[in-house]
């Protein structure tokens, strides 16, 4: 047992840090620091820079453009990225459809899609949830009926993140309505320009448009876009939900937020000094940092443990990483709220969406409340905390 990073890891971290410092465009960095949303163009530009360096898809196999880094290096990369802070990779491309095609896609699918997925030439969105199936994902009803070498899809998806920006969608459909709930589900990829697809915005409580409802009205999808085997879609979905669980703790993100809170608090008057020097404020931060430290070690333990890092069977214990990780992400946004105080109250939709200058408020404060609001979703999406608890109770504790 040795919790030290190797000399090689330390050098690697330095390299990564230097790269983020030099290669990340200032305008993008400022948006991330301020918590502004990025445009599609921002994300594509940054992905292009990473891709040129060979770092756009670190976790993929080398033959498909991966880096060959071990799991500790991948963790270091992600941490440095979050703390730079640089934009996170588009999870639907890099962590979901990419690894899924690598594992289950046909050769044709791999060679056509993977390069375009890596560069965001194809921006993917995910079509899983439906209005009646939230945490109970397997109760989905969107139907796909085979008609010649096409599937005809009818139904509705919801919470389609960036559906309005996306070029493609991977979605779960019911191909065998007579099979039991989890069976009879298949996974398809669909070009979002296909006729019959309607994307309708959902504005969230932060005032932003990330999410959508997506309607499928007799949408014809080539059978060649079926991923893997028909009626095996649930297995692929479970594979995805288990994949890169370790990344869901996002310790680096919470670290970065707390560092920012501490830094901002130096300019806030409190007592005879500043908020950053207030012992109670410092205790509140320290308490979160202690838990983050424990979670960091736990994350590394899970990474080190198993094939989870390389995309194998999912470790149910890793549900803890999601459960605790999101709680700490939320706690960190709460601390930022405390620092910003009244300055967080102003709503400036344009600045939130990426405007260079705020209408008049404090640029450092304007996104704090929206991000605090939006952070409530992390304990709901991608397997709610209640579902994670159910998983642990059943799979780990045997209750």
């Amino acid at each position: 047992m040795d919790l030290r990073y190797s000399e090689e890891d330390i050098r690697f971290r330095e390299d990564v840090r230097t790269f983020f410092r030099t290669a990340l465009p200032d305008d993008i960095r400022r948006k991330v620091v301020c918590g502004q949303r990025l445009s599609r163009e921002d994300v594509v530009r940054w992905t292009g820079i990473l891709h040129a360096k060979g770092w756009a898809t670190p976790g993929w196999p080398v033959e498909w453009g991966g880096t060959g880094w071990d799991s500790v290096k991948q963790y270091i990369f992600k941490e440095e990225l979050l703390m730079a802070p640089a934009p996170e990779a588009l999870v639907f491309n890099t962590s979901m459809i990419g690894p899924l095609l690598i594992a289950f896609g046909s050769d044709e699918q791999k060679s056509h899609f993977l390069p375009k997925i890596a560069t965001l030439e194809y921006w993917f969105c995910q079509g899983f949830s439906e209005p009646e199936s939230g945490s109970d994902l397997a109760s989905l009803r969107t139907r796909a009926v085979q008609d010649g070498d096409e599937y005809v899809v009818n139904g509705q998806k919801i919470w389609t993140t960036m559906g309005h920006r996306a070029d493609w969608c991977f979605l779960l459909v019911r191909t065998d309505p007579d099979a039991k709930k989890q069976r009879g589900i298949s996974m398809l990829m669909v070009d979002m320009k296909t006729s019959g697809i309607t994307v309708k915005p959902i504005i969230t409580i932060d005032g932003y448009h990330d999410l959508n409802e997506t309607f499928f009205d007799n949408v014809r999808i080539p059978a060649a876009n079926l991923i893997g085997e028909e009626n095996k879609g649930w297995d692929y979905a479970k594979y995805l939900l288990g994949h890169e669980r370790s990344a869901q703790s996002r310790v680096g993100l919470s670290k970065m937020r707390l560092q920012r809170a501490r830094q901002l608090a130096q300019d806030i008057a409190c007592g005879t000094g500043c908020l950053a020097d207030d012992p109670q404020f410092r205790e509140r931060i320290a308490l979160i940092e202690v838990e983050l430290k424990a979670l960091e070690i736990l994350t590394l333990r899970v990474i080190a443990d198993g094939p989870a890092s390389t995309g194998g069977a999912s470790d149910p214990k890793a549900s803890i990483l999601k459960l605790k990780g999101v709680a700490l992400q939320q706690a960190a946004t709460q601390v930022l709220m405390e620092v910003a105080g009244y300055d967080a109250m102003e709503y400036d939709g344009e600045f939130l969406k990426g405007a260079a200058e705020p209408a008049g408020g404090e640029d450092w404060a304007l996104t704090i409340a929206p991000n605090f609001y939006f952070a409530r979703h992390v304990s709901i999406a991608a397997g709610s905390s209640e579902v994670q608890r159910n998983i642990i109770a059943h799979s780990v504790l045997g209750l």
């Binding site: 409580i205 908020l275 009244y342 300055d343 709901i380």
Partner: protein, 389 residues
């Protein structure tokens, strides 16, 4: 010891609730928000017609001599419907300053116009990077001839964009964090030298950033005794906090009720959410927090009648702390139990959550008031009132 409303109070409660039920459901509210001011002048007039705008004023000032309980009734109902009109800045803050510190002339000039709905007020207090200390004022007022000239930068002035008359706190003496040396001025919002930038807040209420440059006001604009305004500011803000906490109770009650209703309807895994014991117990914890909040809000409101201002401030801090705790749990659990739908602008849950978050901040967040309580000491006195410290 009596927890019951009087007959008149029950009638008031029913009247306000009926008015809001008729005119202020979630869809109606959405269209009120779309009006030019970001709130509704028509609605404001309805409040005036019902006498709500005159509620806390003395009969000699043309008001209805309502006490804190009447204010509690109105604020809780407003919270329940998420009313966005400027009741708090105009009637509670502006009106509060006039009631406590206004001269006969000032009261006679302004209060009747508040009551009939034609005058809006706001309290210009907070300044950049100042968090919540009420004494931390750098806006300066200086004597020039027989008048005063004010310079300063005020932020987050609730409904400052639509206000006709501002109550401005300014320093005539002392350092920026002295409690002595403060004065209050009634400033015409359109006076030369006043510039305003209005904006929407996260919860769809309104505020303004206000700059005062060489703003000249006459002697009759001074509220109370210049240099000794801090006790008045504290007193008015304390009563306003107590009333705001009652609004919070209304918000929480609604958020809780909506959540329970949703749990009874929404099915997952073949059963209603409400049938899952883990979720039941969390709904119970929300209910416990609601009842604690409701209890302490009564306490906060009644403590504002205390003749000892420190006792009042402590009781209000205690109230704000409990409300903050309850609001956090209820707001967050309400969203979590709703799932994705609660995160959307078109659904009420998120609006209640946002209002609760803003209320937790207004006039000092939980950490701020807890620190104030800790500094004040602690322990219990038991005299006539249910006293705290």
């Amino acid at each position: 010891m009596d927890f019951n409303l009087t007959g008149d109070q029950r009638l008031l409660k029913e009247a306000v609730e009926r008015l809001l039920a008729d005119t202020y459901d979630f869809a109606q509210r959405k269209s009120l928000l779309a009006e030019p001011d970001g709130w509704s002048r028509t609605q404001w007039q309805r409040f005036a017609d019902m006498g709500l705008l005159g509620l806390p004023f003395a009969e000699s000032d043309g008001g209805f001599a309502g006490g804190p309980v009447e204010t509690m009734i109105v604020m809780e109902a407003f919270g329940n419907a998420l009313v966005v009109e400027p009741y708090l800045p105009t009637v509670l803050l502006g009106g509060g300053f006039l009631r406590l510190a206004g001269s006969d002339e000032q009261r006679q000039r302004l209060i009747p116009r508040i009551i009939d709905g034609s005058l809006l007020m706001a309290f210009a207090q907070a300044e950049p990077q100042s968090l919540y200390d009420l004494f931390r004022v750098e806006t300066r007022a200086r004597r020039v001839g027989g008048a005063w000239v004010i310079d300063g930068h005020k932020r987050h002035v609730l409904h400052g964009d639509s206000a006709d008359v501002l109550v401005v706190s300014a320093r005539i003496d002392g350092a920026s964090n002295d409690t002595e040396g403060l004065a209050l001025f009634l400033v015409d919002a359109t006076a030369p030298g006043v510039t305003r930038r209005g904006y929407r807040l996260q919860d769809h209420t309104r505020a303004a950033e206000i700059r005062l440059e060489n703003v000249r006001v006459e002697n009759d604009a001074v509220l109370g005794q210049p240099g000794h305004a801090f006790p008045i500011i504290t007193r008015v803000v304390d009563s306003t906090i107590a009333a705001l906490c009652c609004e919070a109770v209304g918000v929480m009650a609604n958020a809780h009720e909506r959540t329970i209703e949703y749990m009874k309807l929404r099915k997952q895994f073949g059963a209603t959410l409400g049938s899952f014991q883990a979720l039941q117990h969390r709904a119970v914890d929300m209910f416990v927090q609601l009842e604690l909040a409701r209890s302490i809000a009564m306490y906060g409101v009644m403590s504002c009648e205390d003749t000892d201002p420190q006792a009042c401030s402590r009781a209000v801090s205690a109230t704000k702390v409990q409300i903050g705790q309850s609001a956090r749990l209820i707001g967050q659990e309400s969203l979590q139990l709703h799932g994705g739908i609660g995160m959307t602008e078109d659904y009420p849950a998120g609006h209640y959550f946002r209002r609760l978050t803003m209320i937790e901040m207004l006039f000092g967040d939980t950490s701020y008031h807890l620190a104030a309580l800790a500094e004040a000491g602690g322990g219990w006195r038991t005299g006539r009132r249910l006293e705290f410290f």
